[in-house]
């Protein structure tokens, strides 16, 4: 495991004041992957934006973990559809 790519969950929670249980719940619901070494949990630095985003949704809008999972799936689907729509629009422009 490349240490510089990961951050200790405990350290992350201390710095952000996000509760440790919130991050552990994200693991539990498979919303974020983690690495475990001895008894320490690590998260990938590239997942920080995603954790912060889910925390905002949870905190600002009171969305529970099932809801976060549903939103994650929907946003993924929306992104895919937007990409398809963009391609179709470009295809349509060929006939203008």
């Amino acid at each position: 495991m490349e240490r510089e790519k990961y951050i200790l969950v405990k350290h992350f929670c201390e710095k952000t004041h996000i509760e440790d249980t919130f991050v552990k719940n994200l693991f539990e619901y498979d919303l974020i992957t983690y690495e475990k070494q001895d008894n320490d949990f690590f998260i990938d630095l590239k997942d920080i934006s995603e954790i912060e985003r889910m925390f905002r949704l949870h905190n600002d809008l009171g969305i529970n973990f099932e809801g976060l999972d549903a939103i994650k799936q929907m946003l993924k689907r929306m992104k895919k559809l937007e990409k398809e729509m963009d391609l179709l629009q470009k295809r349509l422009r060929l006939y203008e």
Binding site: T16, H17, E52, R56, D60
Partner: protein, 302 residues
């Protein structure tokens, strides 16, 4: 600076109760939250407005002040007096929405708000929101290029803020495509990593070709005689002139494919898409008597 009707922002009337305000705010926040509306600047602006409206209307003191002086906010004396009575800092405390997504700066409140309540923090009972930012803010930038600029990969230096960033723009990048440049965003909080820079390309098509990913499309006019009898034509491609054999009895709207004469494929060095040519037959105009005679003769042969 304009007066902002916070009741209107939350779609309420002045008689709204605290519960009505809470309900209206929550409903609109669910609808307009920036994390649920990625890349939607209008939603992000509206979210900012409802936050501001909620800050004022959900706080009894601020609401009272707003109701009392709101429309007459330009009467500075009255405000000054009000400020003096309440203490110079106005309302200290926690502010709302502290997270941020790409390009959304939640800390910017309207001039109207600033002039009325000062630039300090915000009071808020319950402390529902809290700072949770560790990674620096992601930044967005748009880079405008001509289609002919991206025929080859090129190195460019761009300036974002005061920072100069050298980047390689890969050939064949798409219009509207966004690339991420890691670590070139805002500084992290509490020792967190820097945010990222997202560059979106706006590609202006300065050619006569239409582009769909790496394929190019164009129409070529050919004469009636070339269409009927066949012949050689010369066409322009993005990389130079090409001679093309037109088959005899070519029909209008016939499409031919020129393999590998399209646009460079994104991040596939040396690979190109195809060029599709659609033939449009030019029918002769202003026929002479002799031509009319010959066409009549021809028509009798069919």
């Amino acid at each position: 600076m304009e007066f902002i009707d916070y009741y209107k922002v939350l779609e309420l009337d002045k008689s709204a109760t605290a519960a009505d305000i809470k309900k209206a705010y929550r409903k609109l926040a669910r609808k307009l939250h920036p994390d649920l509306n990625p890349n939607d600047k209008t939603a992000q602006q509206k979210f900012q407005q409802i936050n501001e409206a909620n800050e004022v209307l959900s706080d009894p003191e601020k609401r009272k002040k707003y109701d009392q002086y709101g429309k007459d906010w330009q009467h500075a004396d009255a405000f000054e007096e009000a400020k003096r009575q309440q203490g110079a800092q106005g309302f200290g405390g926690q502010r709302t929405y502290t997270g941020s997504t790409q390009g959304f700066d939640e800390s910017q409140f309207s001039d109207f708000f600033e002039s009325m309540f000062g630039g300090g923090g915000f009071s808020r009972g319950g402390g529902r929101r809290q700072t949770a930012q560790f990674k620096g803010q992601d930044l967005n930038a748009t880079l405008r290029l001509n289609l002919t600029d991206i025929l080859k990969s090129q190195k460019q230096t761009i300036t974002i803020g005061e920072k100069k960033i050298r980047l390689t723009i890969p050939a064949g990048v798409e219009d509207g495509q966004t690339i991420k440049i890691k670590g070139y965003g805002g500084e992290g909080m509490n020792g967190g990593p820097k945010g990222d820079l997202f560059i979106t390309f706006e590609i202006f098509n300065n050619t006569r070709f239409k582009r769909l990913e790496s394929d190019l499309y164009s129409t070529e006019n050919i004469s009636l005689y070339t269409a009927l009898l066949g012949g050689e034509i010369t066409i322009e491609t993005l990389t130079g002139k090409v001679k093309l054999q037109v088959k005899p009895e070519t029909q209008n709207d016939t499409k031919v494919k020129l393999k590998g004469k399209g646009f460079p494929k994104y991040k596939k060095e040396g690979q190109y898409g195809d060029l599709y040519i659609t033939y449009k037959i030019d029918l002769p105009k202003n026929l002479s008597e002799k031509e009319k005679e010959l066409f009549t003769e021809l028509s009798k042969l069919r």
